[in-house]
Every structure is written in C-alpha cells, then in structure tokens.
C-alpha cells in the first residue's frame, strides 16, 4: 500500500485552518505562514479546492473562506464564537474563584488561538487579547489541546530555560492524558505559570481548552512545585461545566 498522499494531507490542513472558529477569511500568505508552506504550494492547493467548491473567495484575488460545497457534505465543527458564548458563565465563575485571568483556546494551525479572555478580577488595567496566538508547547492551554489531538510539528522554540525539550514534552503529554489537565511552569515566561483542562463536545472530542494563568507565586505553593490543587480543581470544574453546556458530559 502506498504511503499517505502529501498534497491531500496539505489540502486537509488548509481546510482545517479555514474551518477554525473566530478566524477571518485568510489570504494565501496568511495560510502559507500558518502552515509553514511555500506560497506557490498553498496557491496550487487553493486553486484545486476552489474548483471543487470547498473554498470560495468574496472577490477574485481576495481572501479565502470555506466554500458552500463543504458545508453541504455536512461535517459539524465547533464555531469559536459559539464556544465563547457557551463558556461565558463558566469562565467568569472560574475567574472569580481563582482570582486570576481566564483564557479559552482552540487549535489554529500550529498555534493556540485565544477565543475568549476574562480579566483577572481586581479591576486593574488589562487588555483584551482575544484573537491572539499562543505557542502550544509552552502553554497549559496548548498542551491540554494537543494531548488529545494531533501533534502539530517538531519545531519547538525555546522561550526560557524551562521550555520543555521534545522528550520531556512527550512525557508531560502522557501525564496530561492521564490526569486530564495540563500546566506550564516558567515555560513561556520566567515567573509565570498556567493551568488548563480540555473541553469536550457531545462526541467526546476535545474542541477547546479553558485555563488560568498568573505569577508562579500565586499559582503554586513554591516556584518549582506543580500548581495548587485547589486551583486545578476550579479549572477542571469549569472545563466540565462548559463540556456539559456543549452536551459533552452527563454528570
């Protein structure tokens, strides 16, 4: 049997990227950047997808979005805006209990797209970063997503001396799958930590992750210890509540 056909794999990547909720339509350049592919390659893929109606353009030479033909074959995907609406009450409650900022993320190409952000409830000046992209391998959100999905790539940039090596990351991801929650400790920013848990839809598929982030001294008992269990339980409870809202859990 022949191996996987690369161009089909790539076409699938392009479609997944366009399908991700909350995103604008994307240009050839944006897709190429997100998937680390050459522009002519992406252009060729899009032209073919356009012919079969799986992508469309508002204007000739403009940006691409998913085409009508794709919706007709009817795979359901979770819209990021829908996820935010369904998660609103539970992300607020999480922020209140943990007294930390809350973010909800979904995978977008090789990155985590922030689809919702609740400020840390101390009335300090904070800026909404909905729409921002985060590296998956150095955030709790990303680990909680990737542990139950596909591993995006091996180009794992080191942000601090604590950013995990590919081997350590593999071990960590096994733990995430066992525990059903993830954390990062100094891995993106020295002195910062994050905790996240996966959100599941009614098929049990992980469609997002919800988590908190803040300084290590607030999230952990000590700078080299995993996060405080009380905070972990708040995060997991929020993830379960959002999953229930999506029809994903029966308890």
């Amino acid at each position: 049997m022949p191996g996987p056909i690369q161009s089909i794999q790539r076409a699938a990547e392009v479609l997944k990227l366009l399908a991700h909720g909350g995103a604008h339509q994307l240009s050839v350049g944006e897709i190429a950047r997100a998937l680390d592919l050459a522009k002519p390659t992406v252009h060729g893929i899009l032209r073919t997808l356009h012919e079969v109606g799986f992508v469309e353009q508002e204007v000739e030479g403009g940006k691409y979005r998913l085409g009508a033909a794709l919706f007709q074959i009817g795979t359901s995907y979770l819209d990021g805006n829908e996820l935010r609406a369904k998660a609103l009450n539970w992300s607020d409650t999480l922020a209140m209990r943990a007294r930390e900022a809350v973010r909800i993320g979904v995978m977008h190409g090789k990155h985590v797209l922030v689809v919702h952000h609740v400020f840390r409830p101390d009335n300090s000046r904070q800026t909404l970063d909905t729409g921002a992209l985060l590296p998956w391998h150095a955030t709790a959100l990303g680990k909680a997503l990737v542990a139950f999905g596909e591993w995006p790539d091996r180009d794992l940039r080191r942000f601090t001396r604590h950013t995990l090596s590919p081997e350590d990351l593999h071990t960590a991801m096994n733990e995430v799958r066992d525990r059903d929650w993830a954390y990062d400790l100094h891995e993106l920013v020295e002195g910062e930590a994050s905790i996240a848990a996966p959100i599941r839809d009614r098929r049990g598929v992980v469609v997002g992750a919800v988590g908190i982030s803040g300084p290590v001294e607030r999230l952990c008992e000590s700078p080299d210890q995993p996060p405080r269990l009380e905070l972990v339980s708040y995060v997991r409870e929020a993830a379960r509540s959002v999953s229930r809202e999506l029809g994903g859990l029966s308890w």
Binding site: E82, L88, F119, L128
Partner: protein, 489 residues
C-alpha cells in the same frame, strides 16, 4: 452552605441560576419557549408553557448542583416586562395567550386614547403599544365574555412576575418596577392611579397588589420567594448601580439603557422613559431614566430562525467576520415600530443601501451594527437629558459574548465599553434583592465589592468614519417611519 436561586423569565427563554455568597454561579438551567406570531406585528407566549418551563429549570438547576430546596435561602424573580396575561382565578387557566411587550396590536387603541404625552407626568411613559395597560384593555375588549368575568372578580391580571408568584405562592402581587410599566401606576404614589385606571377602562379589582422589589411575598416548597424586578431593573441592580448617575445597558432580545436618578422621578425631554429602578423593602424607591430599544438580539434571532443563514446566534459573528465592513448596508429593525427615542409605532424595518455588492457577510455586519447605532441614539438622548456625557458604558446580557459587536459599540459611542464578571446580571440582581430580603447578604453596599471588570473594549474608529456611519444610519431610520397606513392591520 446555602444558596440563592434566581428565576429569569425572559422573552426568549426561562432560566434558573443558583448563586453562592460571593455572587459566583453554581449552576444554570435554561429552556426556550415558543414565539407565537399569529399576524404581522403580533407576538404571543403560552403562559402555561412558561410556567411548566420555569418549574423544570428550577428542578434542573438544583439537580445539577445536587441541591435540595432546603439548601436554598430564597428564590428571586425577574422577568420580561409588560407582557400581559389574564387567568381564571379558580382554575389557573390563562384566558388567552400572553400578549408580549413587542406586540403592536394595540396601535389603533392607543390612537383612540389620546395624545402621546397624556400620561407622561403620572406614569413617566408615552402612550405606546409597548405597555401592559393597553394590552389588558385589548383582552377585555376582544376575549368573549372577559369583561363580565372580570367585573364578577373571576379573573386576574398580571405581568410575568405576578403570574409566576401567583403560581409559586398563591399570592396576587406585583412589584413597583413591573407596575411602573403598566401605564396604570402613579410614579409618585407608587399605587394604581384611579384616573389612569378609569381612562384605560380596566376593573381595579383584577389588578395585583403593588409591593416592594425585595421582601418575602410567600413561599414555594418551603423556600421564601423574596424578590421581583423587571429584567432591566434587575440588571441595573445586579450591576450595583445604586448611586444616582450610575447606569448600564443590557443586550438581550432588545437593549435597555437605564441610569439611576435617585429618589425622585426625572422627566425626559428626549424620548426616554421614567421608571422605577427598584425599591428595597421599606426604603424609598430609586427611580431611573430608560432608553428602550425593542430589537437587538431579536434581529439576530430572526436572522437565525427566519432567514436561516446561521444556525446559532453566536455564528453571526463568524459570518460578519468574513467581510471587513457592512458594504454600505444598514438594517433598521423597526419590527415593532421604533421605541426610544422616536416612539413611532407606524415605522417598520428597512435594509437601506442595498446593491449587488452586498453579500450575506455584509448583512450579518449590518445586523450587529444595528444594535450599536440604536444604542448611540439612546446614549445621545441620555446625554442631552442629563447635561453630562457618558464616559464609559457598562454592558451585560448574552450578546456581550459577541466581541465584534462590543468593539463596534465602543467605536460608535467613542467611549470604553466594560463588561462585569457576571454577564447574567439580570439573574444576579434578582438574587441580590432576594438575598437582601432574607438577610443572606447584609447590605447593598456589601454587594458592590463583588463587581469586577471582566472585559473592556476601547474605541478605535476614525472620527470621520464614525460621523459618516451615523449619518447613514439616521438616513436609514428616516426611511422606516410612516410605513403603516390606516387600512393596514
């Protein structure tokens, strides 16, 4: 540990939310009910279906958190306002579907009652189809034998708060905020006004007793039912707008900007309503000025249910983001005529600026932008009435999950838009009022500490673009008025 359960009987759904002492949400249950449209401009709900839904959301919210009635310190009630129901006192059967606040069937009746400002001084309201009094009168005039039964004392009138409290506790009462929307209550005396009652020609005996918004009306399953507030007033209370000058705008089916004006009613010269904000037990009532917009989320719902381009309300944002602007299209959703600041019941909706260029993405943008431009108009009216300009807008409600809308709102108002950490402030306000009545919370001031900023959107639109957009919006609004003719029905 004990909790407060708030019941929010809204226009599109009924919810029950259980809160803990910090104001955090413990559980939520929600059920939509049918929107019945018998004719253009008519909107009805089945009050029995609503009561059934309320019982089940209460049951579900308690079950979700593994709570029993013994864990609940009090129930609070908040409700869609003005929606009118009349029922048989003996059987509890409604005599007709509830007539919903958006319904325009009383249009000709309103015209026959006199000048728009006839009851402004006493009721704080313009004569309009929106309010309950005329809806009750319509039922008395149009349901066979109803007037005679009313005169014999066999039927009762209520807004949804009254309907629920009667079913929950057996008592026939309403609160001052709901009563202030009937056009039958005097704003100064906070009691039924004999002149308005006789002008509307409704029997006084079928009206409920008017009570404060925060007191124990009775019990349900042994739990005190301890608050009632119209949904918009509940949101004002939930946002802890206790001081004169503090206000909020809530985005649901419609949008409602309310500003606390303290212990005296203030009359508007710019098309705003004067209403009761809340009354806590024996304390003096707090009044409010209100900018009422009939259709905001309802337009999104229409786009979902009647046009079918989206399958959930939240998806409108995804569709709107497929384009960068509205392509020149403006959608004025005057489905129930225009409310504040125009009060034109002869208006109907338009989409202006249509060209072949307009795609569904542009329409989705126009749908969302309509909520923002309508808010701009009531904010302008509020600024003109108060003489001071709004510096930030506090928002709440389900539509605040829509980032595109919130950003656009900040852009067209040119002030920051701030969402508090509980978006469901309607329920929170009802919970607060009930909790205060039973001593679950010590004082209103203690509640202020629970208010936290959860998100903020900063204006970033070019002044010229804002001015051009507003000009186009106003031109589109001009095109809605005078649409209805004498022989339309």
């Amino acid at each position: 540990m004990s909790y407060i359960a708030a019941i929010d009987q809204g226009t599109t759904s009924s919810r029950c939310i259980v809160f803990d002492q910090s104001g955090g949400i413990v559980s939520v249950a929600q059920r939509e009910h049918r929107q019945i449209f018998p004719k253009p401009g008519w909107v009805e709900h089945d009050a029995t279906e609503i009561w059934t839904n309320v019982q089940s959301v209460v049951r579900d919210a308690l079950a979700q958190a593994s709570l029993s009635h013994a864990d609940i310190a009090a129930f609070g009630i908040t409700n869609q306002r003005e929606t009118t129901v009349v029922w048989d006192k003996a059987t509890g059967e409604p005599v007709h579907n509830a007539i919903v606040w958006q319904d325009t069937r009383t249009d000709t009746l309103i015209k026959s009652l006199g000048h728009e400002d006839k009851f402004r001084e006493r009721a704080g309201l313009p004569l309009a189809t929106y309010f309950s009094g005329p809806k009750l009168r319509w039922l008395l005039d149009n349901v066979d034998g109803l007037r005679a039964r009313a005169e014999r004392g066999e039927v009762l009138f209520g807004t949804m708060d009254t309907w629920l409290i009667w079913n929950l506790t057996g008592r026939h009462v309403t609160d001052v905020t709901n009563a202030s929307r009937t056009m039958l209550m005097n704003l100064e005396t906070l009691d039924w006004d004999p002149e308005m009652v006789s002008a509307m020609d409704v029997p006084l005996s079928m009206l409920p007793e008017i009570r404060s918004s925060s007191e124990v009306y009775g019990t349900y399953e042994g739990v005190p039912v301890a608050s009632a507030l119209g949904d918009q007033q509940a949101a004002l209370f939930g946002q802890t707008c206790f001081a004169p000058g503090e206000g909020k705008c809530t985005y649901g089916t419609g949008a409602f900007l309310l500003i606390n004006t303290g212990d005296k009613p203030v009359h508007s010269r710019n098309g705003l309503l004067t209403t009761v904000g809340y009354k806590i037990g024996d304390e003096p009532a707090a009044y409010a000025l209100e900018g009422a917009i009939a259709v905001t989320g309802a337009l999104v719902q229409w786009f979902r249910d009647k046009v079918g381009l989206i399958s959930s309300a939240a998806e409108i944002e995804t569709l709107a983001r497929t384009v960068d602007d509205n392509g020149g299209a403006y959608f004025v959703p005057a489905f129930s005529g225009l409310f504040a600041p125009y009060w034109r019941s002869d208006a109907r909706g338009v989409i202006a600026g249509l060209t072949g260029y307009i795609s569904r993405g542009h329409l989705a943008r126009a749908v969302l932008e309509a909520s923002a431009w309508q808010t701009r108009e009531v904010v302008d009216a509020m600024n003109a009435d108060s003489g001071v300009d709004l510096t930030t807008l506090r928002v709440d409600g389900g539509m605040t999950a829509n980032n595109l809308l919130m950003q656009f709102l900040a852009d067209v108002l040119d002030v920051p838009v701030v969402r508090p950490i509980v978006a469901e402030t309607t329920c929170l306000g009802a919970a607060y009022a009930a909790g205060l009545a039973v001593g679950y919370w010590p004082s209103a001031d203690a509640l202020k500490a629970n208010w936290h900023k959860a998100a903020e959107w900063e204006p970033s639109m070019e002044p010229a673009a804002r001015a051009r957009g507003y000009r186009k919006w106003k031109k589109a609004v001009e095109r809605t008025v005078g649409w209805m003719d004498e022989d339309d029905d």
